[in-house]
Symmetry: C2
Subunit: 330 residues, 2 copies
């Protein structure tokens, strides 16, 4: 019998057996792994999706995206309908829902059960139902821009995309869809109102001096600025459960020394409050709402010892949208 | 005889005589002057008017008023009709008419015979009929802002007042009523056009990259900037008798590093060229006009070795003019 040189050495005989055993073990392990991967495809896919989402969201620069802050009270059906719309808006980084339904659990579980979602949505349970809860400095906020929307307001995606591009050109101002004004009277007392307050016989158009924050983009640093305001301002908002937006316009106008906001004319924006099952209508239906806002203006002038609001008559629209909204004259 | 001490001195006797003579002369002169003022009341009034006008015009700050520069060729009837309109526009400081009718006397006499006029109008006789004559640094120009209007273009006063207020907020850009664009093609060659060039299927509105200077406000220092450009730019305009406005947009975009102009949507603007008795239609009716402008864009890119034009989709309108052009949505 002619043995190969391996046979002759006892150590090498042992080596072959270990080698064979190792090979068998490896083969068995590979088969088991293969079986496992075959058995758990869905879990792996979800993880891949999440990984892709994380990479994408980290890729978005903080100037190129914005955070939606939506405060909600007693209109969860509207909220969820609106979230389904806003979650898909381009350049949205994250949603922060300010949950003012005290004692009622936020719908985290429902939200997660209906995932996956395009972007993260954080429900912030509040301790008291305050109007100014939405003006906190949220640690989850990572972007330079805030999109603030009332929980009954539906703004179309083209409107949002355009208004965000306008904000990027005017980042120190509130860029939004709802203009309002203050008027001064011969007594020196101010009043609050809208288009119907246009001075008659002036013949040369209207002016606005505020852009309401409930449908607007503004710089997220203004949340910190709001927090630093005199306690009297916060107290005024708490007492009236109103006027946080008027206060923000005062604060920003004072800060930048020019008109607080730029009005972008909305093409497709609706108020859905009539569609709620809760039977709850917004704060602005209270009898005293409008008078309160005039009251707030005069209080704020008192607190700041000045009227910092400035008038503007600039109305911005998107060139060529809707199609042919500009006709060649010459 | 008791003399006063004066009588005794011979020099003093002479003094009294001189004094008496002087008094008589002065009295006579006063009477004559009085007679003269009684005889020439109208001349005095005109002089008073002129003095009042001078004081008023000197009172206008150079930032609060603008100079109209209107170049004209072969349409004197339109020119005079338009001057009657523009001379009354608020905040107008002066009009400079660039008289391109070579060999024909400018209508100074006719103009003066139909005075008085609200503001001074200077007719600048040119030595050659050049498109770029209107871009000279006129010594008569005292304001920071130029309003440049073609001699067949009627822009309403509300449009002008509003656009000027917009220019005051964006003084480094051309603020005007006629937007145009360049498009790039897959070959890298550019083409020139307007609204009808909107990219199909883009779905999100149009863009413009130029605002034509023939119906616009811009900073008067840009006239100096134009004069300092390479000779090739001036030669291009002279060769084509076209494209001075495209060149200005290139120059300004390059200078400020952002979009050269802001489009203000005109409410009431018309082209009067059909109303001329001269039978002369503007340059843009020439068969090669549009192709020339595409040609100019590519030549300018060549000269500047870059494409400095930037796109914008911002369209500005006046809030509340015409009445109720903004309806409350929410």
């Amino acid at each position: 019998m002619r043995c190969c040189h391996i046979c002759k050495l006892p150590g090498r005989v042992m080596g072959i057996r270990v080698l064979r055993l190792s090979l068998v073990v490896i083969l068995v392990l590979l088969l088991v792994a293969g079986a496992l991967t075959a058995l758990l495809p869905s879990v792996k896919e979800d993880k891949m999706l999440m990984l892709r989402r994380e990479i994408k969201s980290q890729g978005k620069s903080t100037m190129d995206s914005f955070t939606l802050i939506m405060q909600t009270y007693n209109r969860t059906d509207l909220l969820l309908k609106l979230l389904n719309h806003y979650q898909a808006v381009p350049n949205l980084h994250k949603v922060i829902v300010v949950w003012n339904n005290i004692g009622e659990k936020a719908p985290d579980e429902l939200w997660n059960s209906l995932g996956p979602h395009p972007i993260p949505v954080i429900f912030k349970q509040q301790t008291a139902n305050r109007m100014r809860n939405r003006l906190q400095v949220f640690p989850e906020l990572e972007t330079n821009a805030v999109l603030m929307v009332d929980d009954d307001t539906l703004i179309s995606t083209p409107d949002l995309v355009f208004a965000f591009s306008v904000w990027q050109q005017f980042p120190d101002q509130i860029v939004g869809f709802v203009p309002r004004k203050h008027v001064s009277t011969s007594s020196g007392i101010y009043s609050y109102g809208s288009f119907e307050m246009q001075a008659p016989g002036s013949g040369n158009g209207d002016q606005y001096s505020m852009v309401l924050i409930g449908a607007s983009f503004f710089n997220s640093k203004y949340l910190e600025l709001f927090q630093r305001q005199p306690a009297a301002v916060h107290a005024l908002i708490d007492d009236t459960q109103n006027c946080d937006d008027i206060a923000m316009n005062f604060i920003i106008a004072k800060h930048i020394g020019k008109t607080s906001g730029i009005f972008v004319k909305p093409v497709n924006m609706d108020n859905l409050e009539k569609e709620t099952n809760s039977g709850y209508f917004g704060m602005w239906h209270r009898a005293e709402h409008a008078l309160q806002r005039s009251y707030c203006i005069n209080k704020l002038v008192n607190i700041y010892d000045s009227m910092p609001l400035k008038y503007s008559n600039i109305m911005i629209s998107q060139f060529g949208f809707p199609y042919a909204n500009y006709k060649r004259k010459i």
